[in-house]
């Protein structure tokens, strides 16, 4: 039996004796006998680490869609960006990995300061003064942002652009069953949201307006239009963004967002089939007491030395309980620390360069794909670093065929956006070389022929 338990049989016996017990089962004397499991768990007996590793590697080998087998052209909030050795080495340091929430700041300055730096970077990136220490992922950050917006505006009607990631919209809907928020999906037309007129009965006015920038199809929305609605209606503007794009795009904060959310996987976290990822969240100063999740602040210690500590804790569930701004407790700190390291590695110039390179590769790929007979733009609105095309046959089929040629071709859009099954969402990161793209385009032409 593999085990991480140090106790030897003699030690167990001695400890039981100290407790006045004669068998280990007596420790569970207070558990009603009738409830106890009368058999062993029907699981295999413990195995050695090498066997277990082999077992899991066998699963790994059944995944065809691994980046070392299929070149990745899929995105949709999960991107195949460069993760340098230095990020892996630092983020993997066991002090960051095997600690928990910094309840004792005196021995947790490492995580606290790293998170403080993370918060600063996200605030700068999003163009807002306060960012939290992380939420679970893009979807949950969006849910929290809407909750904040409803609380701040006092109105629970939420206008959700169809350009928000469909999974995030699903999670909004799922959670709205509990909160009672009234969600109204606002359609995309040719890639961008067409907002309703806002001169409507007060009751129908939105409390929150939620838009993507860039949106799920990679298109650049008209954020000022959304801001204008908010100005008229008193709604809170929540923008869901692609953080890498902000290397060159104006920040949502600058566009007037009250809350900005995003998925932070792209800062140094592996694709990992979707988790653990990193929910990013920033807001205006006025909302800080409604902020969900942990927040690290700077202060001093007894000797006046600079120190960091989690702060405004009175918002949180362990103190405020049913009146807390959110229920989040365990979050994604390690991914936040990873992102801080990755963003420091990128730095001011690297982030701009990264965004630019993605945009160039995207443009190059898009132009080449659209030159293929039968491949049409899915939307004509300007895109930045991701785009969708319409293929002559079902996108699912294209993806299957492209896999045989060595590519993960993109994400089929399915029957969303009131369209057929021919939509394919394609992301091209800075890691794709011209040769790889050319090969992709050639294979694509064959796949759709």
């Amino acid at each position: 039996m593999g085990t991480y338990i140090p106790h030897t049989e003699d030690e167990i016996a001695s400890m039981l004796a100290f407790l006045g017990l004669s068998s280990i089962d007596q420790l569970f004397a207070e558990v009603p006998e009738a409830l106890k499991l009368q058999r062993g768990l029907e699981l295999a007996d413990g195995a050695g680490e090498p066997d277990v590793l082999a077992h899991l590697d066998a699963y790994a080998n059944r995944n065809q869609a691994r980046t070392d087998r299929l070149l990745c052209f899929a995105g949709g909030g999960a991107y195949d960006h460069e993760i340098p050795s230095v990020t892996k080495a630092l983020a993997g340091r066991s002090e960051f990995v095997t600690s928990y929430t910094p309840y004792q700041p005196e021995v947790a300055q490492g995580v606290l300061q790293a998170v403080f730096e993370f918060q600063t970077m996200i605030a700068r990136l999003f163009g807002l003064p306060v960012a939290n220490a992380s939420l679970y992922d893009g979807a949950s950050a969006t849910v929290e942002a809407v909750n904040l917006g409803v609380a701040a505006s006092g109105r629970n009607t939420v206008w959700v652009s169809e350009g928000i990631h469909p999974h995030w919209r699903q999670m909004l809907a799922t959670c709205a069953a509990g909160t009672g928020h009234r969600l109204r999906t606002i359609k995309l037309v040719d890639g961008v949201t067409v907002w309703p007129e806002s001169d409507m009965p007060v009751d129908d006015r939105p409390g929150v307006v939620l838009v993507g920038y860039p949106n799920y199809l990679g298109c650049l929305e008209d954020v000022p239009a959304a801001r204008a609605i908010c100005n008229e209606t008193g709604a809170m503007l929540v923008v869901a963004t692609d953080p890498v794009s902000l290397g060159v795009l104006k920040s949502p904060g600058e566009w007037g967002a009250d809350v900005v959310v995003g998925e932070g996987q792209l800062f140094g976290t592996t694709l990992g089939f979707g988790g653990p990822y990193l929910g990013l969240f920033a807001c205006a100063q006025s909302h800080v007491r409604r902020l969900p999740g942990r927040l690290v602040g700077e202060t001093v210690d007894l000797d006046g030395r600079r120190a960091y500590v989690t702060t405004l804790r009175a918002r949180e569930q362990d103190i405020r309980r049913e009146k807390a701004t959110s229920n989040v407790c365990t979050n994604q700190t390690l991914m936040a620390v990873t992102a801080a390291i990755q963003m420091a590695w990128l730095g001011t110039s690297g982030l701009a360069e990264l965004a630019l390179r993605c945009a160039r590769a995207t443009r190059y790929t898009r132009d080449a794909l659209l030159a293929i007979d039968g491949v049409e733009p899915y939307a004509t609105a300007p895109v930045f670093r991701e785009f969708a095309v319409r293929t002559p046959l079902a996108a699912d089929t294209v993806v299957e065929r492209m896999a045989d040629a060595g590519f993960l071709a993109g994400i089929p859009l399915g029957r969303q956006f009131d369209q057929g099954e021919e939509g394919l969402l394609i992301a091209v990161t800075e890691r794709r070389t011209r040769d790889e793209i050319d090969a992709y385009v050639t294979a694509f032409a064959k796949a759709v022929a």
């Binding site: 593999g2 338990i5 280990i24 558990v31 409830l35 106890k36 768990l41 029907e42 007996d45 059944r62 995944n63 869609a65 691994r66 070392d68 299929l70 999960a78 460069e82 002090e95 960051f96 600690s99 928990y100 910094p102 700041p105 005196e106 300055q109 995580v111 300061q113 998170v115 700068r124 992922d137 999974h167 999670m171 809907a173 060159v248 795009l249 694709l271 990992g272 089939f273 979707g274 653990p276 602040g297 700077e298 202060t299 210690d301 007894l302 009175a314 362990d318 309980r321 229920n327 989040v328 365990t330 994604q332 990128l346 730095g347 110039s349 690297g350 360069e353 590769a361 699912d396 299957e400």
Partner: protein
């Protein structure tokens, strides 16, 4: 010629290491203070992609005028900075971490290797099932394993942590009652419950009804009876509860709640205590979340990530979030076939993708190493360790509930507070000087000056002994040294007691909010 050529310029020296406790006690500059304009660490692939200008790539008006000021550091300074920060951080890998309710057990290194397997780490979550059979199979094995451990019928692996699992469970409860055509409005929780429970109840759209604990630290049955009615959607319980005590009346509670049509929710934070001994499903629970980062040893990452799968009984399966991985072909030669499937009446989705999948893989590795037999031993030794601490310290600290405990014990230092003004907080800080992380303090709320100690099964008897000796020493000091001397602790740490009030009063949530920036 000598003289000064002050090169500090705007930047702090990246190579000065007085913030590493090995050498000194200085503050570590922020990465922003280490920045110097023009320095860089990044490099990308050479791609040969045509180098269009930004103007040609995005419409006018969208471009930012200035790059985002992140940091400008050399790789060398980047490494030194974060390595020094890591030296300013306690962790399980450094020593005992008896932080009650958090199950800070040893995190096996083999699980890191699992999470780094290119065939797991390098998979895009939107790749179709046909290209990700390994991941689907792994997830099905996780689900089946968790169901066997909890005695439930099926599980969703989407929730990213316990709290997310709670909300998922409450939404399942709601969907169930809605499906019965009779929505309800109240959820009962004991006064000893963790804060996430009431917070989740609110988010689930329910009203919190709190029941008090009785003299044995369990749900007061009379009080429970008095609040049970047909408007009660369910009850959330932790068992063993946050006092580390087993709710012996669980069968009666289950019967009573079920009788009024309510559902029982199991907060699995304390599952470590009962692995292979008694299962939530067998106690009558309908919905169970697990904290894989606690019970199944996935590292806590300085605050996360975790994973909070939710398992349910048969009748709730149709409501589970989706899509769920499902085995379609069961073949003897290991080539099972899997697909995604969304339950008919699914409440929807609780994660951007499929859950914290790499955490699931780690947890599976941990479970497989231990095996069914090993998991039971985990529970046994976790409980043995906690009881040993309880017994050993019962003359030194108050033991509010004088019963066998399960995997953790809640002591109280009210005796020391009354006699000498020494608070649980002081004890927590003083223990750092003795080489241990502090226990959880002031929780559960119903115990004054609570010290909640969860040794976990991976700490040896020798470590327990040292912990007990340290806590005895501290109690002796409280009894013998002048009041206030304990308030000096900790003395050896890179920073001393931190001014939390000031942090909240003058909020500095970013480097830019610091006065002068």
């Amino acid at each position: 010629m000598t003289g000064s050529n002050d090169l500090h310029g705007p930047a702090a020296p990246g190579g000065k290491a007085t913030s590493a406790p090995l050498l000194g006690r200085d503050a570590e500059p922020t990465i922003f203070e280490l920045s110097y304009p023009g320095r860089q660490a990044w490099s990308f692939r050479t791609t040969g992609v045509p180098e269009l200008e930004l103007e040609d790539l995005i419409p006018a008006g969208h471009a930012r005028s200035e790059p985002v000021p992140l940091a400008e550091v050399s790789e060398r300074d980047l490494v030194a900075h974060f390595t020094r920060l890591s030296h300013r951080q306690f962790s399980v890998d450094l020593g005992g971490y008896p932080l009650g309710s958090c199950t800070m057990k040893y995190n096996p290194k083999v699980c890191d290797a699992v999470a780094a397997l290119p065939g797991l780490a390098g998979v895009h979550p939107a790749a179709p099932a046909s290209l990700t059979q390994g991941w689907l199979g792994l997830m099905v094995e996780v689900e089946e394993t968790l169901c066997e451990i909890t005695g439930m019928a099926a599980a969703t692996l989407q929730p990213a942590a316990g709290a997310s699992g709670e909300l998922t469970g409450l939404l399942l409860m709601r969907a169930w009652h809605d499906a019965q055509g009779a929505p309800r409005h109240k959820v009962i929780i004991p006064d000893s419950a963790h804060g996430t429970n009431p917070a989740s109840v609110t988010l689930g759209g329910y009203e919190v009804v709190t029941v008090p604990s009785d003299a044995r630290g369990c749900v007061d049955m009379e009080a429970l009876d008095s609040v049970l009615d047909e408007d009660v959607a369910g009850i959330m319980l932790t068992n063993p509860n946050t006092l580390g005590l087993f709710e012996e009346d669980i069968a009666a509670i289950a019967a009573a709640v079920h009788k009024v049509g309510g559902l029982l929710y199991y907060d699995g934070a304390n599952l470590n205590a009962i692995l292979g001994v008694v299962r939530p499903g067998d106690m009558g629970f309908d919905i169970v979340h697990m904290n894989l980062h606690k019970t199944f040893a996935t590292p806590h990452g300085g605050g996360g990530p975790g994973a909070g799968p939710v398992a349910v009984s048969e009748r709730l399966v149709p409501f589970l979030p989706g899509p769920r991985p499902q085995r379609v072909v069961d073949s003897a030669d290991g080539a099972d076939v899997y697909r995604w499937h969304t339950p008919e009446r699914s409440i929807g989705r609780m994660h951007s993708w499929h859950g914290n999948t790499l955490v699931l893989a780690r947890a599976l590795a941990y479970i497989l190493v231990n095996g069914g037999d090993g998991l039971q031993k985990v529970a046994q030794i976790a409980v043995l360790n906690a009881n040993w601490i309880r017994q050993r310290l019962s003359g030194t600290y108050d033991v509010p509930f004088d019963r066998q405990c399960m995997h953790e014990v809640v002591l109280s230092s009210r005796n020391l507070k009354q006699a000498h003004g020494v608070r649980a907080l002081d004890i927590a800080k003083r223990l750092l000087e003795e080489g241990f992380h502090s226990p959880t303090v002031y929780f559960p709320l119903i115990v004054e000056e609570a010290l909640m100690i969860e040794p976990t099964e991976t700490e040896s008897p020798q470590t327990l002994e040292a912990l007990a000796v340290a806590l005895e020493l501290i109690a002796n000091e409280a009894n013998e040294l002048p009041t206030g001397s304990m308030a000096e602790a900790p003395r050896n740490t890179p920073v001393r007691r931190v001014d939390e009030a000031r942090a909240a009063r003058t909020l500095i949530p970013t480097f830019d909010a610091r006065a002068g920036n």
